[in-house]
Amino acid sequence: MTQARKGLIVPVNSEVIKLFRAKAEQVAAKIQRVANVDAALAFAVDVCRHKEACTLLPAGCQADLSEAAEALCETKSAKTITAPDLCDNDRELLHALCQDTGIQTVYKDLRRHLGGIDVAITRAQFGIAETGTLVIDSTDEDIRLATMISEIHMVLLPADQIRESAGDLVMELSAMMQSNGNFTAMITGASRTADIERVLALGVHGPLELYILLIEGENGRTK
């Protein structure tokens, strides 16, 4: 049993962070180091700005679809960023960053945006180094949907919350599962399938790309 499981606070070993990065990159997750939440938001907006207009190219915009599926696509009017669990200050900042970019921000009622969200920003509670996995409490429906329907999913992960293996999180995860209606997601890389001729294809139902925004140092301390 590691010290973390005994409830002691221990500095995260840099080897563990290294392992986390390696394993996450193995499954095509993109890792971006950021100094703080402000920098993370600026990065997210930048990615969204440079994304193709209706990035649906990778998501299948030009595909020949049935009329019902086409109609869903047309419900989406502008580039959209969502960040359901940002605090008010951070929302203000995100709003300011999006000014004059043509990007709209959405914080709730994601059910109205099932046609597609360009970028979602959420927070991970933990990282698991052994598999490059993010643990996200997605009980809130908007957080849940953000992680599922966005084309690019960006996850803020404080480096000090990375553990070596899932086994090191048994106590924390079990506590989460005690609460009624808890929906906890372990996410590793983008949505993928190999169901046609075993050829790997990303973004079959969920995000096409996963960014991990790793916050290290003082600012990475979880609140």
């Binding site: 394993k23 009624n180 294809a201 139902h205």
Partner: protein, 718 residues
């Protein structure tokens, strides 16, 4: 589902599968890629230890199913989850249809669930007028085709991109390009619409955690997340064997499951749902969450001391991935609904003996599945036991009754072999092969040359061969098995001569007979036990240091099966145990016991490659000894890429399924050809019969030899 009741029809379906070029290539590529992927995924870990841990945790859960269910239910109901228990598949379907009716659901979306396949849930719901859409890409594809899955993890592995493009053209009403990337995006967008419209979502579960009433779902696509989130009703259909005490157990299993299934360290999504989550689809309405636990015979299996281990299965599909028969014929011929080795067993329990009768005979007993099973289930043994159960229920076919009778009586058996030798004389060519097969065989059996029975069996030659060793290093008994005694006595002669040079005193107990594996393979358990008893007495292990056998199958049968076969005979069980302890295959004896040295061999031997007999490499875990002996004997050894893949013999298997056996052999010889060796060496007369017969039929220059012959040839002075 196709009718499987008649063996003739089954053979016909197998023939069609073997003729499907796309399927064959897809299966081959997969078999080869899987091996490497799994190895990489377990790199730096201890797979055997992890698997043992899984087996342990599952066993503990299985023996406590009722308790875990009660605990789960109590916690779940406090959380507002509706928990149901279905006794049968039909009952489960009815419960789910009732939930749909009560909640006024019309449109239903599904995530992949083998349990729902087991109950044929879609058919039932559709017959009640519900619109059901599968959302896992592979499942959606086969649903559109009206087929069942051909693999538990990759249900549409038997289909090509062209077939998928045609299907999608029908669905969208627009022509489709066969670009896979594009087809996946078409599915994404078509199905997104279905998610939005659905009233109810159905999933299975990989884990059901009793302490927090949590279900765990592992997926790569993320469809299960949408299925459980968007509709207002969620129903999870869960086999009782998925119950576990707590998260710790599930995490331990999940270290093995994805690595074993697809060579991934973890799937993209592992979702844990602990109660009805918030739902904002309609103001004022709450999410409705039902869990339907399915018994369908599971509680009875849990109480069966022999078969309870099948409930350990975590549905990773690895037993199909490594199965040489699956590789040839695909999942539709290698299972009814559950596929692969575990499918052969589960079919009997979940879908009845009518569906299982032919399937259980299509195991070649190579042991590849047992070696990779995520939960350490002894699959080949249980397949044989299911076969025996069916025979006991339905009566034994004439062929196996006759063979049982003959093998129980050594003198009769050997007299028959001798008269067969005389009878085949006129059709034996000058190389010792039969010019044509006796007319009772159909032409499918002609994929290899069959050797004639030797003019003089080893037992007749023995009195003249028996060496006199004044001060022996070891006293051994030779167990010949019937093939070497009657077809390849030269393997044994070479060994006797090699051993004499090493001061080993050899005895050949004359009362020994066939080891009994052929009747065991035919499900004739009682006959197998009687033959074992005769050999235990004949070999009288207490008189010897070792019992050496040149047949890997005999060695593994004597060592692994005899103690179990005779466990209930108090007078013989201890003796069988002592015999098992002394049985040693030829290569291990030469390498580990005699420790043959390079000095006795001439340098500069030919380029050889090796076929590892299934019963040696997996059955007895002897892998290094033959390699090392090649080097000691000065041979230029070059390993073949598929050294450990079965040759397709499988004893009586090759006569029961000659077309499959022939195709496995063809693959094997292709692989051997790729390393361009002069000689293929192996250590089992059955493999030699198959490989040599195939090489001769194919006109290859390759020599196929037993290790004993090769070592003998390389001795200085020979």
């Amino acid at each position: 589902m196709a009718e499987r009741n008649k063996m003739k029809d089954y053979h016909q379906e197998v023939g069609v599968a073997l003729g499907n070029a796309f399927l064959r290539t897809a299966m081959d590529n997969f078999a080869v890629a899987y091996r490497t992927a799994r190895q990489n995924a377990f790199a730096g870990l201890d797979p055997a230890g992890l698997i043992e841990d899984v087996a342990h945790r599952k066993d503990a859960a299985i023996s406590n199913i009722d308790l875990l269910l009660a605990r789960f239910k109590a916690v779940a109901e406090k959380k507002g989850i509706f928990v149901h228990l279905a006794d049968t598949a039909q009952h489960a379907n009815e419960i789910i249809a009732t939930i749909a009716e009560m909640s006024q659901s019309r449109k239903i979306i599904k995530a992949k669930s083998m349990t729902a396949e087991e109950t044929l849930l879609n058919h039932y719901l559709e017959s009640k007028g519900y619109q059901v859409t599968e959302t896992d890409l592979g499942e959606w594809i086969i649903q559109l085709r009206g087929e069942g899955p051909s693999h538990m993890v990759m249900p549409a592995i038997h289909l090509s991109r062209f077939q998928v493009a045609d299907l999608f053209a029908d669905v969208t009403g627009k022509p489709q390009n066969e670009n896979i990337e594009k087809l996946v995006k078409v599915a994404r967008r078509e199905l997104r619409q279905k998610f939005i419209e659905a009233d109810m979502g159905i999933t299975g579960a990989n884990f059901a955690l009793a302490d927090t009433a949590t279900i765990g779902l592992t997926t790569n696509e993320g469809n299960a997340r949408l299925v459980t989130t968007l509709p207002r009703v969620h129903v999870a259909l869960v086999g009782l064997e998925k119950l576990l005490p707590s998260l710790e157990d599930a995490l331990a299993i999940n270290r093995v499951l994805p690595r074993n299934a697809t060579g991934q360290n973890i799937t993209s999504y592992v979702t844990w749902i602990s109660g009805p989550p918030p739902w904002h689809g309609e103001p004022g309405r709450r999410k409705e969450f039902h869990i339907v636990f399915l018994d369908n015979g599971r509680r009875d299996i849990a109480k069966d001391p022999t078969f309870n281990q099948v409930l350990r299965c975590v549905r990773c599909g690895a037993c199909a991935n490594v199965c040489p028969v699956y590789r040839m014929v695909g999942g539709h011929q290698m299972g009814h609904i559950y596929i692969g080795a575990i499918g052969l067993i589960l079919t009997y329990f979940f879908h009845g003996r009518n569906e299982a009768r032919n399937l259980v005979q299509n195991c070649i007993n190579c042991g590849a599945c047992k070696e990779v099973c995520a939960a350490g289930i002894d699959l080949p043994e249980l397949i044989k036991k299911v076969h025996a159960l069916i025979l006991n229920e339905e009566g034994h076919p004439l062929k196996s009754t006759l063979l049982s009778k003959v093998l129980r009586n050594r003198k009769l058996f050997h007299r028959l072999l001798r008269s067969a030798q005389l009878a085949q004389k006129p059709i034996t060519d000058d190389r010792g092969y039969l010019r044509h097969l006796p007319h009772i065989f159909a032409k499918e059996h002609n994929f290899r040359q069959i050797p004639a029975i030797a003019a003089r069996p080893f037992r007749d030659r023995w009195p003249a061969l028996r060496p006199q060793i004044p001060r022996p290093r070891f006293r051994i008994a030779l167990f010949s098995g019937c093939v070497q005694d009657f077809v390849y006595p030269e393997h044994l002669e070479a060994a006797v001569s090699l051993f004499a040079g090493q001061q080993v005193a050899v005895e050949f107990p004359m009362e020994q007979s066939c080891c009994g594996l052929p009747v065991q393979m035919m499900g004739e358990h009682e006959a197998a036990a009687q033959v074992a008893a005769q050999n235990v007495l004949a070999l009288d292990a207490d008189r010897f240091d070792y019992i050496v056998t040149l047949c890997a199958s005999c060695a593994s049968h004597l060592k692994k099966s005899y103690p179990a076969l005779l466990a209930r005979r108090p007078s013989l069980a201890p003796k069988a145990g002592r015999l098992a302890g002394k049985v040693v295959p030829f290569s291990s004896f030469c390498h580990d016991v005699l420790q043959l040295q390079a000095g006795i061999f001439a340098p500069g031997g030919p380029r050889v490659t090796y076929h590892a007999p299934c019963h040696l490499c997996r059955g007895l875990e002897v892998r290094e000894a033959p390699h090392s002996l090649f080097r000691t004997a000065g041979l230029d050894f070059v390993p073949a890429p598929e050294e450990e893949t079965c040759c397709g013999f499988g004893g009586t298997y090759s006569s029961k399924f000659p077309t499959i056996s022939g195709e496995i052999l063809k693959k094997k010889l292709d692989d051997v050809e790729s390393v361009d060796a002069q000689c293929l060496v192996t250590e089992c007369p059955g493999c030699i019969l198959q490989l040599r017969g195939g090489a001769v039929r194919r006109g290859m220059k390759l020599r196929v030899q037993h290790l004993s012959e090769v070592l003998m040839e390389r001795l200085k002075g020979n």
